[in-house]
Symmetry: D2
Subunit: 331 residues, 4 copies
């Protein structure tokens, strides 16, 4: 057994993370914290969790006496909390962007000043399908963004094969991706029966996708545009790849089956995926197509943005860090 | 031509009211005001209005130089603005609750202190199907609440016939009824795929319904429970009436056809109404049923809460106040 | 271990039932059948189940070699299949209406000719919170309808206390309640942004509710009206009770806490429930209110119509029939 | 005044077309036809139309005695009806694909045998913003598909400037785009909370887009992928253009403002459009962006698939054919 604290458990991803740890056979949920709703019961705020713990104010002395922590805070405020936890030897999965990037200048460009520069770059990028071995030995894992999770799983087989000359990523996410803070954007009347591109040219997941594609052998600027669609949870990423070399349908199919044959949480299908098929699961469902007319490769990838795109992937990482079965508590 | 100001045009009902006046053959939209978004163009905030006017800060001297005003502010803050407008001789339709009730004690019970006690009771209750003649000569009209509009049109024929011994009103409204201010309740992720009763036993439309039923001859306490349902606009009111005397299917049908045969905006149908059938219209669609098994009368009434339940009914009232065709600008 | 067949696994409730049995620690899913989609894999038709079994044509010889069966067929066609299974000694939970009613004349009135008259009345009514002991020894359990489940759990404490003089039940259900067969009613464009009463005065769950209320001591005709609301899964039942004797808030609260204190799947809350709070669970969440103004008791009850209203309650019954922990495989 | 028949008025586009003609100052709606629901009133089937005409069986002798017809039938069955109408001298706007393509081999490839080969190619492509003059003199206008409408308006300024080297079109449509026939795809429970690509590599609007882009100067195979999203009406097209020559932000902005400055139904905006902004209007709302990082041009285009993508554009065309103001009856 290992004791776990979930920081930021009043947000959507934090609440699911807390719920997964609460029911986990190995981990024990010791603390849940919230910045503005402390004092309330988690299951009053998020009834579906059915976790009857009181949300506490974050205090390193109080909640630092655990073996591991999932930090579900926004970038910027996350780094100092992670630093405090690491000082106590707590193993951390950080769900913010603070430890995902490896170039400090890129971080500063897209996010501003880092909150714990001494730890910058100390995290392992927590996409198990790419970095399983490094995660297993890590003390600090940077849980990927939701869009990078779906996009990288969609593109990794092609990137590793040196087959990407150019790529357009058109992504669509449900409203929970915008977070739990009420705003005009997330108001039911604004989002319902609507859809719209957002953060055109400047979504912060862009450098993260580029960094990891480069690490896989495809160093190129990507065109990435997210869209808001009227559903609560679910994310679909449509990738349009101009191949770097001649490919056929069989090559494409082969690459994906080979890459993911043994992956417990990636499902390769012939037909394109729907987000409902992976709702409230840790699965990423992918279809890859070679278009004879245009010579392009089309890859579609669906995840639940709050699960594989955040909370359940964090637990998958925690399992690996503690040498447990990667899927424990996720089925 | 008559010049009109719409106060509170950044809210949902206010924006629709402004849009209707903007396209009205007789009225001319001179001013639109907002409390917190002044300076912006109305059609930036509400693109569907396509009204390219700048939202102004409310100032009685500025916007008081009009012939009429639609006041779309919340109760409490509405009354003083109405008073300022009336002092200048401006004819007003007030969409708040401030002038709907006729008993000051009841107002204070449900809403607290009134903002312009000298004007209390000066308004005519603006349900044209019941008070058409009084509205025609009025300077101040209190536009009914959305639930009272649907409920009273549903129950008036029975009330006038002395046929109501008891009534349960189960009402369901889309999320726009909760207003445009973002909150956890109106967050897409909270409202989507959800439905729940709210303000059980204490919704402020209760005394308004009781007052008007009493005026129609049915003085009784009503059981009224609103529910929030996952759609943007639309309201359905299901009324379960215990009859005060013996009735049959033919009696019920007769009462409703007689009451509404000549009403331009009430549609009586055999089958129960759906809210989509009246979406973005001034119609109220009603079906009345006599249940042989239980002896109850069931009446279902559907409106668009922002149109017949607020903005378009306000324009209907304004038409009457200026001796125009009641339906002008609404078809 | 006990072998189980799920008949009608291509429907919504059947697919969930199959999925629950597939993951159940004690039961083993041996067969899944479908009438029109046999030959397909269940998880192709219902990807969320992730049950890789082939849907078979129903054949008593083939699928009758099991210990138990969940029959998820419509009334009428269900009874003969149940009879064939019972002949082989298979223990059955039938999710149709064929074995719920105890008066054959009432069945014929509401449903027409029964498909296995020799078995009529042989089923135990499968609402565990009311009939736990009888279910434990039963070979044939009639799983309750979704509306009766929510309504009876809402009303049982008052009915048993002799406190119901009259009741109006206003029920709201998501679209999955209309079944998986495509129709104009279930078309997205018809149901989206809409809500409407349906089967006014004549929904077939009425006699079932009346039968069970009578058994609890409240023999009276109920007014029951279902409404279709735009969400996939979830059911809310609003009950308006005219008390048969004087009650206060404390009496009402006391009755509900006493009735359900030890029930694993009934949650009593102060505030009214939302259907999202019980989505994809076996929970029924209830709030009961005494309205001082009118003297009425208001009870709100929320379930997932496909879970507690069908599939998971069927598994709860099966657990009881096999002397397993009632909650096994449901948490 | 001119008499008009609407063939196929029971479908979504047909019902809106009928409703627009019914309220049109110049055209008079004489006939509405339906293939399977004849005998019913149009406003029973589509209550929002409030068109109290009886749907008739199609009979060229009966409904051919009009000045114009809008044919809202599927491709294949549309052509023979159009031919029969043209023989009687009736001016026709055909909403199917039967007269959109100019190369019979391409038609046969994508649609199969044509139903009136003698008329093949006789239609003018009815995108007023591109072909206003030809439409004005035409007897047969082929109303564009919904995706081509949005895509071509998005791409025309770049295509005419010879600035398109390559383009990816990622399109998203509400469920009404799949038509009114009930199916598993359009079932509420399938579409709700879901989104998925469909007809990958083989949507029939592809050759139509390519034909018209070529006519504008951009002869190239396009990558076009539609997606189904959970809303009733609305279509968003995201275009990712690799420029054929060096461009900057100012060039892009300039091209779009120049192209559409005088267009009554095209709105150019800085920020990306939402489909709700054009719901139930004839507007196409576009934003164009130059991405400095990648050198790509991004263009987003939103329409209502049933209005500008079908019915209201058909009326816009009919206005032009009868030398009326292009916007008559559409505001």
């Amino acid at each position: 057994m290992a004791d776990v604290a979930v920081l930021g458990a009043s947000g959507y991803a934090g609440a699911i993370a807390a719920s997964l740890i609460w029911r986990h056979p190995f981990f024990e949920l010791k603390h849940v914290t919230a910045r503005s709703e402390s004092g309330a019961l988690l299951d009053e705020i998020h009834p579906r969790t059915r976790v009857p713990l009181v949300l506490e104010d974050w205090d390193a002395d109080e909640q630092g006496e655990v073996d591991a922590a999932l930090v579900c805070w926004p970038h910027g405020v996350s780094a100092p909390a992670v630093a405090a936890l690491r000082e106590r030897g707590v193993r951390v999965v950080d769900l913010s962007a603070d430890f995902r990037l490896r170039d400090p200048a890129v971080y500063e460009d897209w996010y501003g000043r880092h909150g714990a520069p001494e730890l910058f770059g100390a995290g392992v990028y927590g996409l198990p399908e790419l970095y399983r071995e490094s995660i297993a030995g890590a003390d600090l894992v940077a849980n990927p963004g939701c869009y990078p999770t779906a996009a990288l799983l969609a593109l990794a087989p092609l990137a590793r094969a040196g087959a990407i000359a150019d790529v357009v990523i058109d992504a669509k996410s449900g409203v929970s991706g915008a977070g739990r803070s009420p705003s005009q954007t997330t108001h039911y009347v604004s989002a319902d029966e609507n859809m719209t591109p957002y953060k055109v040219e400047r979504h912060r997941h862009t450098p993260e996708i580029e960094q990891e594609l480069a690490a896989l052998g495809a160093a190129l600027p990507v065109t990435f545009t997210p869209h808001l669609v009227p559903l609560a949870q679910g994310e679909l990423v449509s990738c349009y790849v101009t191949p770097a070399r001649e490919l056929g349908e069989a090559d494409v199919t082969g690459l994906y089956h080979e890459a993911y044959a043994d992956e417990p949480w990636v499902e390769i299908r012939r037909g394109p995926p729907g987000v409902l098929e992976v709702r409230e699961t840790n699965y990423c469902r992918i279809s890859a197509h070679f278009d004879n007319r245009t010579g392009r490769v089309l890859v579609f990838s669906a995840i639940d943005n709050l699960w594989k795109g955040a909370a359940s992937q964090a637990v998958q990482n925690l399992n690996l860090m503690f040498a447990r079965d990667e899927s424990e508590g996720l089925t």
